[in-house]
């Protein structure tokens, strides 16, 4: 099972490298360190949202409200800042708001037993609506300099938020690989009944997954609010679908129990990089969506073919093995 997961991550990484090289050949400017850093910087929002979504998908759920959650958290951040709250408190409020939004999804899915796609589709509407009700539909502008400051910090020419996201990614990767409690996500997603019979807290594991998705969406809100310096009403619009696409690209299976944080992050980086590469290749930005969609389809199709070929091979090997054993 493990090498299969690797193969998806390897496939996408290979594709990513290939695209980078091709783009670089057409436009050598692309190889400049600055543009690579720029891609990383632009991908942070999606990486963070996709990481949160990963927990939900690992438990075999789905959350289509994460974009709206990020938008709502950004509104809380912007509103509290403009009320004169210190940055630390405002960020805390935003993270809390995101976490609560995630917890509401979690409550609906685990205790009311509403199917995940319906629960989160409902809250998608609720959170988007709330965002506009809170702000009266207007953008939140004139944010204090204090929130824009972190975006200017850097170390070794790499922005602070890139380091912070990398650190969070490393932590998530370590925890999901090594910490027993975090393995519950995999167990529940792989075989819910089995996990239940083993005595794992299935409902609470699912609860934690949706809540974490909300928390990570709030992290993303803090990053993009600092980066762009205002909160628009379509902030993170459509990111829920991109986050799912990033996970699928990165080898996190919608059937649950399979995938890694690094995979999800690579998927998100890939989707963002496609956008930058098209610009460097001189293709207008309007083709972004078409390319993202085609790449997603190609990757899942190739992955399916590889999997069925391997499965066939395994079966034939077993038949041969059995025949040999009998003789």
């Amino acid at each position: 099972m493990k090498h299969l997961v690797r193969s998806r991550e390897a496939l996408v990484t290979l594709l990513l490298v290939l695209l980078v090289v091709v783009t670089g050949l057409f436009n050598p400017n692309f190889f400049k360190a600055a543009s690579i850093v720029e891609i990383f910087n632009a991908s942070l929002t999606l990486v963070l949202i996709a990481l949160g979504e990963m927990f939900v998908i690992l438990t075999r759920g789905i959350d289509v409200s994460v974009g709206a959650t990020a938008g709502l958290a950004a509104v809380v951040l912007g509103t509290t800042l403009n009320l004169g709250w210190p940055v630390g408190a405002a960020v805390l409020a935003a993270v809390l708001a995101g976490t609560l939004a995630g917890a509401l999804n979690a409550f609906g899915v685990t205790f009311l037993r509403v199917p995940p796609i319906i629960m989160t589709l409902g809250t998608l509407g609720i959170y988007r609506g709330l965002m506009r009700i809170v702000t009266g539909g207007s953008w939140i502008e004139n944010l204090p300099q204090s929130i824009k400051e972190p975006n200017l910090w850097g170390f070794l020419g790499v922005p602070f938020f890139v380091w912070a996201t990398l650190a969070l990614l490393a932590l998530t990767a370590f925890v999901t690989l090594r910490v027993r409690l975090a393995r519950y996500f995999y167990a529940v997603g792989d075989n819910e009944t089995g996990a239940y019979l083993l005595g794992l807290p299935v409902r609470w594991t699912q609860f934690a997954a949706y809540t974490l998705a909300g928390t990570f969406a709030a992290f993303a809100a803090v990053v993009f609010t600092s980066q762009i310096g205002f909160v628009s009403m379509n902030a993170a619009d459509g990111f829920e679908l991109k986050a799912i696409a990033a996970n699928v690209l990165g080898g996190v299976s919608l059937t649950g129990g399979v995938g890694t944080p690094v995979g999800a992050a690579i998927g998100a980086l890939f989707l963002t990089a496609v956008h930058s590469m098209l610009i460097f290749l001189g293709v207008p930005g309007i083709w972004d969506n078409a390319f993202a969609g085609i790449i997603l389809l190609v990757v899942v199709y190739v992955d399916y073919r590889v999997r069925s070929a391997l499965e066939l091979q395994r079966r034939q090997a077993r038949i041969r093995g059995d025949a040999g054993g009998g003789a």
Partner: protein
Amino acid sequence: MKWARYLRSWEFALFALLLLELGVLGLVNPVFFNLENLLYSTLDFTHILFAALPLTLVIIAAGIDISGVSVMGLASITLGLVWVAGVNVFAALAVALLVGVLAGAFNGFFVSRTDVNPLVITLGTLFMFAGLAQGMPALLDKLGFKAYGSAGLAAYQYEGITGLPDAFIALTEGSLGIVPYPFLAVLFFALVLSLLLHKTRFGRYLYLIGVNPKAAVYSGVPIRRVLVWAYVFSGFGAALAGVMLTSYFTSARADLGGDALLPIITAVVLGGADILGGSGTILGTLLAGMILGFLRQGLLALGVTNDLIQVVVGSLLILAMAAKQLLHVYGEYRLKRKALSSRDGR
């Protein structure tokens, strides 16, 4: 006792809810007691019904198609571009519908030939169709098609294609008596799909695939062909919605229908279809779509903002599902109790 079964059905509950809703809205605002007004206001949500009705077939077969919202824009811009090229507008309409059928067939092909989750496939095509719709005007420019305006076809990408002939606009402006054509078309579409679903072998296959795909395969159901057709209907319905919106807004745009996903899926699920497959009816979707549509109209008429309506619709979806789940759990509990007591009685 057959009527008792009808009275207890989900569809009857929806029908009662629809009447109750119209009654309440009418008491608050007498405009809703005017049948002509009421029918006219359906124009604002017929596109939801066009897309939701055939999506019911897909969901019954345990599939999902979220790419419909992009097919709407793709069909609309196709219609506009073909018309700009000098083709008769009704021929352009046919081409747009054909695009919807092809888009559906594309989805169906991938869903039926792989074990990849339909949500992933239609997510991919959602992006792909939206991208195609946005890029098509510019692409045609590149390919050297002559445009009327100086800015080339690419300009249409932002402005939409306007100036469509009156005969085409009349498709949504016109009415038979007091029933607007689009609503009439929705009823006809619902009738056809309903007969297909409940009176043909194809329909029974859809339910069987939704309940147990393995059993369907072993009992010789042509599962691939049936699935492809379900998605073709879904693509066709979305294209119809796109065409209807084009006529209604008198403009062909690539981004039509972008925010319709929530109401479309809400209509199907509220209509009684199980998102995991195996149950659902066309009548249920039709009634639920109308309940949601009129609710929106009513709230708008009361001065409620669009944002709050979004919150209300979202909450309604969750509450309806939660209630249904709780009733289901209670029903199972009662069934078990009954089984236990009857065993003890022996």
